[in-house]
């Protein structure tokens, strides 16, 4: 019997535990131990310092270090991981999935000693796969994000003043988002990216390659955080790409729109329209069962047919994907990339972001977040797609 400690919907949480249990059974694994915040939040509906232990038969223990005061018959307070062995005692698993792709080497080595004699396997890909298929409950949270995201972006065009820099505009957008209820936290899986609340790129700054695995780069304001706005003054003829944080409730939509002052070059206009056309094409193609890489291939084909491949996904350094799953974190499965082995499933939520960097002008193209439905993609970020003039 599962006694959920969630602060949200208890039925939903029971379904999630059941889905994890099912994945464990399918992989012949006895139990899973989670401690990363994103997986804990998924599996228990809350964030705490400790572990969630879930078995293939659907039992769950919540081992908690902090905070004090959590209730539930299967909540066990511990000071250190070694105490978990006492609780599990005679029921130690034969095989256990740990977060080998997330937790530090030292943390895993310590857990391996706690579960001495247990065969250890990796929980990371299992949880990525489980989390990649969203429930209607999760989709409703993402829809809520999309509504607030769109509402916030709608207020951007009035924020501009002559002589404004990219970072000044970004600070205005941050304010709009926070006022709209954005939590600010931009959750990224893994340790290869950092970003503060999103990315605003103006003009030639879009040409600066990034150390991170984002679709777009930018120099940033400081060597310690080399991404995004760099103090460029927004001038007539510039494209300003806005790709800011859509985390309003623990889930995130991902959305990009482009703004301009005055006119931008026909090449940039054409590339932006091609991005929109790619979205519309892929939205019909992206049915359950379709290979993720085929979406990438279709986008590249359209770009080549238009003769715009030199600008596609960066100039000097090109991103190797045009889309990605999104949910609790911004880089979930499936990955829309040439060597992706992912196959689209009903309930996947994906952000598509075919973008172009046009020399001297800046970055163009849009990003929307979609749910994979039986008949194609349902858009969660419904806002005008054309380039918006700032005033």
């Amino acid at each position: 019997m599962i006694d959920i400690i969630s602060v949200t919907d208890k039925e939903e949480m029971a379904r999630r535990t059941a889905r994890i249990a099912e994945a464990l059974s399918a992989n012949g694994i006895d139990a899973m131990l989670l401690s990363s915040f994103a997986n804990l939040y998924y599996a228990t509906g809350r964030v705490y310092c400790g572990y969630a232990y879930i078995t293939a038969s659907g039992e769950a223990y919540y081992f908690v270090k902090r905070p004090v005061g959590l209730d539930g018959s299967n909540v066990v307070y511990i000071r250190k991981p070694e105490q978990m062995a006492e609780t599990l005692a005679a029921n130690m698993p034969k095989t256990l999935a740990l977060e080998l792709g997330i937790a530090s080497y030292n943390a895993i080595e310590r857990l391996k000693k706690v579960f001495d004699g247990t065969a250890v396997t990796d929980a990371t890909p299992i949880m990525c796969k489980v989390r990649s298929v969203k429930s209607e409950f999760e989709i409703s949270k993402l829809k809520e994000c999309g509504i607030h995201h769109v509402e916030s972006y709608g207020r951007i065009k009035k924020m501009y003043h002559e002589g404004m820099t990219d970072i000044e505009l970004q600070i205005e957008i941050e304010r709009i988002l926070r006022d709209e209820g954005c939590l600010g936290q931009f959750r990224i899986a893994g340790d290869t990216m950092e970003l503060f609340m999103g990315n605003v790129l103006c003009g030639r700054n879009a040409e600066v390659p990034s150390p991170y695995d984002f679709a777009m780069g930018g120099e940033g304001l400081d060597a310690s955080l080399p991404v995004g706005a760099n103090g460029t003054i927004i001038k007539p003829g510039n494209a300003v790409m806005v790709d800011m944080c859509g985390n309003f409730n623990g889930y995130m939509t991902d959305m990009t729109r482009v703004y301009r002052v005055g006119n931008i070059t026909p090449l940039a206009e054409r590339a932006h329209q091609l991005s929109i056309d790619i979205h519309h094409r892929l939205a019909k193609m992206a049915l359950p069962g379709v290979e993720a890489k085929s979406l990438y291939e279709e986008a590249v084909k359209m770009v080549k047919d238009a003769g715009l491949e030199e600008y596609f996904m960066g100039l000097r350094q090109k991103a190797g994907f045009i889309g990605h799953g999104v949910g609790i974190e911004v880089n979930e499965l499936p990955v829309i990339a040439p060597r992706s082995r992912d196959v689209l499933e009903l309930g996947n939520v994906i952000a598509l972001e075919p973008k172009f960097v046009i020399p001297q002008v800046g970055a163009v193209g849009i990003e929307n977040t979609y749910v994979v439905r039986r008949d194609g993609l349902e858009c969660l970020t419904n806002a005008p797609e054309e380039i918006v003039e700032l005033y």
Copy 2:
């Protein structure tokens, strides 16, 4: 010969490489391989996707995956970690320090295969120790942070309006900080804490225990990020504690001040004054060579003498420290805690935060960032310490 790829001061970077080399020699380790952003930024002056390889004799290779275009005779572009073995070839180390406390289990296992036959040890504590002693260059960056931090806090008192909530005030403070040049990124070592730009706590929300290892808690706005402001309306008699991000240049000062509307209880006033008194006492005590735990003990003694221990460092859940090192990340060495084995060194930069949670009123007490100098602590966050009335 070291050919530094740093974007900042080259002499400083050469000194840092020498300090790491010295620590390796002292520990009998041939080389170290770093890839976490905080350690890379320390060791190379920039952030990139890849590795810094530093030997005990002071040689360095910079293995870079992204961005394209970094110059330097010892910059080696790689696509995958296995290629490092080709470059090092005949010079493979006998012992190698890896970030076992930071990098994922999978990442370390892969590196162990790359350095097959090499004995692996943990780079994490070595780098924590090296980074805990700041150079004058680093102190000058922290001083700059302190000046901007103080300037920003000076503007808070005018932001209040009747009926304002804690989160509305926090958003105003975020805006002030960003306008002042704050980068926003709140860097925390390890995986046990998350926070967006800092913490504003009003009234009873300060009593809510946190899952995180911060000095203070708060419910937060959403179950996905249970810390800080929760929408409490700021009322007469409340204390409002402001502990917001001081990252203006890749380094961070840590600073807390308290605000009020109308009068707060004499108990809260007395506890706040005691926090100030603790600061002044510890500022004289904290000489190089002094045990960090003795500062903690002195603070606790002062609190007990005043009969305020039930409110000290939390009510239902108490933080186990009153101070910590600060620099590139907010939780560096030394730790000012009862079981700390750290001994203060010349050039340590520490934040002291003896705080109290007063029932019904809120959190009081201040936090300052200090440099450990020959004759005691030099304060980097010089602002009035008393409680400031909002208007």
